[in-house]
Structure formats: C-alpha cells, structure tokens
C-alpha cells in the first residue's frame, strides 16, 4: 500500500517535472508550426484559400539568360530546384571531404580526437552571418584569396557572385554537421570488428568497404540530413556570396516576409517543410532496412 502511494507520488512528480518542458515545446515548436500552416491556407482577411499554395507551383516570370534571350519560367519551381541542386552539391562535397576526416579523427588517439573535435566545433560558436561576411572578404575580386594568388604570380580568379562561391559558403557553414555524426558512429565502432575483417582476409581498403562503411551508414545518413535540409532552406549566403544572383528558396521566404506577404511566405515554408518531411521519411526507411541487415 505504502509503496504504491510512493509510486503514484513519483508518477505525479514526474509529470510535474515534465510539464514545463511540454509547455515550452508547445509554445516554441508546435504553436509556430500551427501558425505557419494557418497563414499558408488563409488570405489577408484570414479566409481559407489555396491561392498561396497554387501560386508557388504556377507563378510565372520572365528571365533573361546571359545571352540575352528571354524565357518564361515558373518562378518558384526554378528557385526550388536551384536550392535543391546547390544543397545537393554542397552535401556531396561535405560528405566526400567529411567522411575521411571523420575516419581519421576516429582512429586517432583520445587526445587528438578531443582537440580535433573542438577545432571543428569552434566555428559553430560564431554567428553564421559573420562567417558569411568573412567569406566575402576572402573571396572578393580584391579579397584575401586573390591577393594571395597574385602574390604567388598566379593571377586572379573571379569567384564572388558565382554559384561556386555560394557552394563554398554552404559547405563551410554545414561542414561540422557532416563530420560530427559520422565521427560519433565511427568512434563507437568496435575495433575487434576491424580485426575480424582483416583476420578473414580483408586488406585495409576491403575492411573499409565491407565493414566500416556499411556500419557507419547511420552516421552518414544523419550527416546528410543535417547538411541537406538546412542548406536547402538557407538564405543570406547566396545573397552575400552570390551577389543576389542565385535566389534560393530561403531567400524567397525571407523576401516575401520582408515585403509583408506573410501568407505567401508561410505557404512556401509550409510546402518546403512537407517536401523535406517526405524526403526524410524516405531516407529513414532506406537506412533502417540497410542497417538491420535486410531481415
């Protein structure tokens, strides 16, 4: 009887302890999402409408290509696919560069691991706007990079205002988010598994291909998710490093918001969210079946 009382008291205490977190989550996660959805499906007089959603898919505008020819395109679809393309390129670069780095760190001594991870995390402590501005000064035609190249007598390159500059900015910003999840999976990998692979006839490369990589897939997937998703919706980077020439979906949302088109901004955000959720669910599914050994 007594223990039962204690238990129910405990349960109550647990509930009370959880309550502030629940309220917090509701206030800052759930309510904003509801607002986004609400605004996406209403017009300025708060009546239900699908207009904002359809506008995203159908709005057209005329663009002038570099050779002067004019073309009519679906504005937001173009912006959306451009965002996806740049985000995918950035993610692939992050993965190709990040995986070996994560692997090398995970194999290093405990001391080196600690230092390396701290070094990787330090840039994350700085505001990304400041970091983006820093890249502007590096990449400008008269910036640090070009001054350095000229010093070496290699001439200068024009990079600011190109897609490359935007990709560099994205890769730089999201690189740690690729390394850290891969590193944490690799660091936990049982070294006996690597010895077993060698014992069973695998060279170092075969061990990497047949054991290390498949077992690190969960880290790779969460790395991809953590880079791809924020880089699809990123803004400012393209405005600053792309000289505003590569309008991305994040910039579109920001633009509509600044122009006080709250309902359309909400609609774009809502559509983006739905697409990303579907993509994530798809990815989870893929990795679950891989990681479980396809049983």
């Amino acid at each position: 009887m007594r223990s039962r009382n204690v238990r129910s008291q405990n349960a109550l205490a647990h509930k009370l302890a959880r309550a502030p977190y629940g309220a917090w989550a509701a206030l800052f996660i759930l309510v904003p999402l509801i607002f986004v959805a609400y605004y996406a499906f209403t017009d300025s007089s708060m009546h239900f409408t699908l207009e904002n959603i359809t506008k995203f898919f159908t709005a057209r505008s005329t663009v002038t290509a570099d050779d002067g020819t004019q073309q009519e395109v679906r504005t937001y679809m173009v912006i959306f696919w451009r965002s996806v393309r740049l985000a995918v390129i950035s993610t692939v670069i992050c993965l190709i560069m990040g995986y070996p780095i994560a692997y090398i760190i995970a194999r290093a001594s405990a001391r080196v691991q600690k230092i390396a991870i701290t070094l990787i995390m330090i840039p994350m402590w700085m505001n990304f706007l400041i970091r983006t501005y820093a890249w502007m000064t590096v990449l400008q035609d008269t910036g640090i990079l070009n001054n350095f190249l000229r010093l070496l007598g290699l001439g200068s390159i024009h990079i600011i205002g190109t897609e490359s500059a935007v990709v560099i900015g994205m890769v730089y910003d999201y690189f740690p988010y690729m390394i850290l999840p891969i590193y944490s999976v690799l660091a936990k990998l049982d070294p006996k598994l690597l010895e077993a692979a060698q014992d069973l006839g695998c060279s170092s490369f075969a061990t990497l291909r047949r054991v290390v990589f498949p077992l690190s897939l969960p880290g790779v997937v969460s790395g991809i998710t953590m880079v791809l998703i924020p880089s699809i919706s990123t803004f400012y980077i393209s405005q600053k490093l792309g000289n505003g020439k590569f309008f991305l979906i994040g910039d579109a949302i920001e633009g509509q918001y600044v122009a006080n088109n709250l309902h359309f901004a909400a609609a774009i955000a809502f559509i983006l969210m739905v697409i990303l959720l579907i993509a994530m669910a798809f990815m989870r599914r893929f990795t679950d079946s891989r990681v479980q050994g396809g049983v």
């Binding site: 010895e195 069973l200 047949r210 050994g293 396809g294």
Partner: protein
C-alpha cells in the same frame, strides 16, 4: 608430427612493460593446444602475435618454416574466434559465414555449398537469414566458429571463446569444440584462464605466468607432475609444503619422512612438495603419518572439503568420509601421491589454505575474467 608454428625467443612489451619474455613454443599439426594462465600472463598477446595483430619486439614467429613477423593478418592462413565473437552486425548469419569466401572471390555456388556445410557442422542449419544481433550467446559463438573455419585455415585461434557463456552451455560447447577439432583436423590454439576447461579439452597445455611459459605438457603431465608451485597451485588444488630431499625416494616434510617416487635431487636439497587434496587418506589418529585437527568442513556434493591444521600449516583434503570440526585425525599418504618439485621463484607463495575461503576464491576468479 609436423611443426606448424614456432615462436622463437619472442618478447613483447607495451608501454615499457614486458608482457612476453622470450617465449619459445612449438605448435604441431592437428593439435588442440591451450594457453592457460591468469589475467595478464601474456596468453592473449601470444595469440595476437600468431594472428598477426601484434609484431614481436624480439624473436621470430615462424609459420611452416617461414618467418612471418611482418605478414599482415589477412595474408596469414590462420583465423581467429574472438572473445566477444566480433560478428558483423550488418550481415545475417549466412553473410557472416560467407564473408571470407566473398573476399576470395569464390564462385557463388561454391560459397553456398561451403556455408551450408559449415552451418551444419556448428548445428545452425536453418538460421541462414537470422540477424546475428538477435542470436543467443551460444549461437553467436557457433557463427563465429563457422566463419573462422569456412576458409579451412591451417590454425584456428580461439581467444577465451567460452568466457561469456553460462556454465551448462560452456560444458556443451567444450565438447563440441573438441569434436569440431577432431572432425576438421585443424590445429586449435585455445586461450583460457579456466584450468578445468584446459584439462578437459586439450592435447597440450601451455601454462603461462608473468609473460613466461611455466610448463608445457599433456593435461595428465601438468596435473600429476607440475614443474613448480605456480603450476601446482593454478591447476587444481594443491597442498604445497616445504620439504627436504633426504636421498632418492625419501623426503621429509611436516616433521615426518615419507617414501616417495622421485629421485635425482641432491642430498638434503630443499624442495617443494605437492600433495593433492584427493590423494590423502583419513585414518585414525594413531595410524596416521601426520596428525592434525579439523578446522572446517564443507559439503561439496560428491565429497567433503575439509581443512586440517597440521603443525600450523592448513591442508586441504577432499574425502567422502565424514569428519567433524575439532576432531583429531591422522593422515596417510601413499608414496605416489607425493610429487617433488625444485624450488622456484614461486616457492612459498601458494599451497597453504590458512586464509582459504570459497568466497575469496570465487572473487579472485571473477576479477581475472576481463580481457587483459
């Protein structure tokens, strides 16, 4: 017998601490050889040197007459069953066993045939599609054995493979491993700290302590003719006494001169005398060669384990006769129950049961469980 592996004067140190001290060891074809010793004696390091996971600081590892010190593990015709099995969690049972064959680019049909044969050998037919992480410890063990044997290595290394299994399963697996070894004819090098396991499975036992080999021999030799106090104490229970060899076949200990079967010692040479607890007969006080007082009696099922105080030295005796605590008894020891050993660095360290308690014994075993 064909010699497969030779260790010649192999030494190994980690962080300046000597783990192996000039080991010489021959391993022969079709042999079940066990490296036995307490935690930290160097047995696992010896295994890893043979497997190629460590290179010796000094000395040579020789495989069929060829020095292989620097040959990487994947080029050695030796496979390992790891302590915690090290199965690949992303592969099912079939693919784990097929793993080494795929690396060798064996044709699919042949892989299927070999994997099926191996799973049959370890009694896991029908488990092909199972996820290895959902198997029991004993089943994982079998997969690990099948995977290590599928390539038909010349030598199979087993690193305390039964340590994680419960007692009943361990006994079954001991028998089964022995059968697999006989059926395949592959040399097994088995590492354990469990002396019973070593005695019941091995053709040859290598007793190790502090990075040195103490004795190499058959289980019967090791048990009956231990070379020093360490071996006598580590293998089974032993009363180890200070004695003096009067002449051939005559030894004095505990204030009595006994007839024995050992010779070849110098006159009046101090020696260590081993008397196994099961080799002592309890007789009435007046008929005994030695007299003592029973200080404790423990019922063990098959026998009683009693501790007898003889002149301040506590003997352990295993008997089926009931005696009571504080009873005065006599001991009778046959000549062939007495084994004489030369004095060694281990003299005086073992073989007195004055501080003996079952609990302590178990505790010290539990402590020596973890991997060195």
């Amino acid at each position: 017998m064909k010699r497969i592996i030779e260790l010649r004067g192999v030494s190994k140190a980690f962080d300046g601490e000597t783990v192996l001290d000039a080991i010489d060891l021959n391993i022969y074809d079709n042999e079940f050889i066990t490296l036995l010793g307490p935690s930290g004696c160097g047995k696992t390091t010896t295994l890893r040197l043979i497997g190629g996971f460590e290179t010796p600081d000094q000395g040579d590892v020789v495989f069929l007459g060829e020095r292989i010190n620097d040959l990487p593990p994947h080029k050695r015709n030796v496979n390992t069953v790891f302590q915690k099995y090290a199965l690949f969690p992303h592969l099912n049972v079939y693919d784990n066993v097929a793993f080494p064959l795929k690396e060798k680019k064996v044709p699919k049909a042949e892989i299927h045939e070999k994997v099926t044969e191996m799973l049959k050998l370890v009694k896991l037919t029908g488990f092909e599609k199972r996820n290895v992480t959902r198997l029991s410890g004993g089943q994982q063990q079998r997969v690990a054995i099948a995977r290590a044997l599928v390539n038909h290595p010349q030598v199979l290394l087993l690193d305390e493979p039964l340590g994680a299994l419960d007692l009943k399963l361990r006994k079954d697996m001991q028998q089964e491993l022995k059968n697999i070894q006989k059926a395949t004819g592959i040399t097994f090098v088995f590492v354990t700290h469990d002396q019973e396991e070593a005695l019941s499975m091995s053709d040859t036992i290598v007793v190790m302590s502090e990075g040195r080999i103490q004795q190499i021999g058959t289980p019967i030799d090791i048990y009956n003719e231990p070379e020093n106090a360490f071996v006598a104490d580590f293998i089974g229970e032993s009363n180890i006494l200070d004695g003096v060899m009067r002449q051939d076949f005559r030894v004095t200990f505990s204030g009595h001169t006994f007839e024995c079967v050992d010779k070849g010692f110098e006159k009046n040479e101090p020696v260590d005398v081993v008397v196994r607890p099961e080799d002592v007969d309890i007789v009435s006080k007046d008929k005994g060669m030695l007299q003592g007082v029973v200080t404790s009696v423990t019922f063990m099922g098959v026998h009683y384990e009693i501790i007898v105080d003889i002149g301040g030295f506590k003997w352990m005796i295993q008997t089926t006769d009931f005696v009571d605590v504080d009873e005065e008894i006599g001991l009778f020891i046959e000549p062939d129950a007495i084994h004489i050993m030369k004095k060694s660095e281990y003299s005086g360290m073992f073989g007195d049961y004055s501080s003996f308690s079952m609990e302590l014994d178990e505790l010290s075993y539990a402590e020596s469980e973890p991997d060195e």
